[in-house]
């Protein structure tokens, strides 16, 4: 638990400027890499992908053992969310990463999902 409670605001003391890590790329399409888009490393046929930046490699490593949400990748790496989204987008473009975006909101889909959520909560917490 952090000392000061919630909603901390501070100026980050980055060693590397964010635009260096992202190679000046722009933010990807929000739907493709939303906070809760699930990502995992694509199968690599046993060989390591070449020519990745250290950050790309680091994020790919984290995604290599299963699915994580984009927010979780940011949380575990402590990189700013915007940076994580850009690097993940580059990895996706390069075929190194598979993404599973959330289903777009629609009434019917919502209803099924909400039922699933409700049943899940009951199962889990009684």
């Amino acid at each position: 638990m952090r000392a000061g409670g919630e909603d901390l605001e501070f100026e980050p003391a980055d060693l590397v400027r964010a635009y260096v890590i992202t190679k000046g790329r722009e933010l990807p399409d929000e739907q493709q890499l939303s906070l809760i888009t699930l990502v995992t490393a694509a199968p690599q046929d046993g060989r390591r992908p070449a020519r990745l930046t250290p950050e790309e490699q680091r994020l790919l490593d984290i995604c290599s053992a299963g699915y994580l949400s984009v927010a979780e990748v940011a949380g575990h790496t402590r990189l700013p969310l915007g940076v994580v989204r850009i690097v993940l987008a580059a990895l996706t473009e390069g075929g190194h990463l598979m993404t599973r975006p959330p289903v777009p909101r629609a009434r019917n889909a919502d209803k099924d999902l909400l039922e699933e959520v409700l049943n899940g909560l009951h199962r889990k917490f009684g």
Binding site: E9, S69, A74, H76, N119, L121
Partner: protein, 201 residues
């Protein structure tokens, strides 16, 4: 400042979403004013140690292309705390604790987009502090329930006063909860989801 000391990126199997490729991720926002208990709430029911991620906000008015980065550049870092609940082999629920500051428009758009709904935590002693958050949630068109944290007193009278003070619709659920308690937090969340389901039917 975070919850985990895993700056070395080593994750265990439990960190990953079980069910992987078959999972659909959904999110619910847990919102409220400063120090109302959002992080505590999420921590009490999350299956993972709550994580924190930062979004860097640049003030739009000062978005000057100044590569020296010294003059007139104002950035603020907003921390989002979140947790996860794997509810079945098909659905994994993320809970995002969202700060109530109205000025973070971009962040709010990110957060609200695709959210199933919002649970608004309120402190009965600081009701006025909840107005801006409720306004934002309504502005983004999210359905919500109110969870009264730090509750200590007569529930019925409190609910009536609170409904009036917050100008709630009759159907908006109001529950009391102790954000430190897993069952109590889960009950509040269940109330919200049942309401969302009613609204979707």
């Amino acid at each position: 400042m975070g919850f985990t000391a895993s700056s070395d990126d080593r994750l265990t199997t439990d960190d990953y979403v079980s069910g992987g490729a078959a999972q659909t991720a959904v999110k619910i926002l847990v919102v409220g004013h400063f120090a109302v208990g959002k992080t505590t709430f999420i921590g009490s029911i999350s299956e993972i140690e709550p994580l924190s991620t930062e979004e860097t906000m640049t003030q739009a008015a000062e978005a000057v292309d100044d590569l020296k980065g010294v003059r007139g550049k104002t950035t603020t870092t907003v921390a989002l705390d979140f947790g996860r609940l794997t509810l079945s082999e098909r659905v994994v629920l993320y809970l995002f604790g969202t700060p109530g500051q109205t000025r973070f428009v971009q962040m709010w758009e990110d957060m609200a987009r695709g959210a199933l709904g919002a649970l608004i935590l309120v402190d009965p002693e600081r009701l006025a502090d909840s107005f801006p958050v409720i306004d934002l949630i309504e502005q983004y068109g999210l359905d919500y329930a109110i969870a009264v944290n730090h509750f200590d007193g007569n529930p019925e009278r409190a609910e009536r006063a609170l409904r009036e003070a917050l100008d709630l619709l009759d159907e908006t659920p109001v529950v009391t909860c102790d954000a430190r308690n897993e069952k109590s937090s889960a009950a509040a969340l269940t109330t919200l989801v049942r309401y969302l389901l009613d609204r979707a039917s």
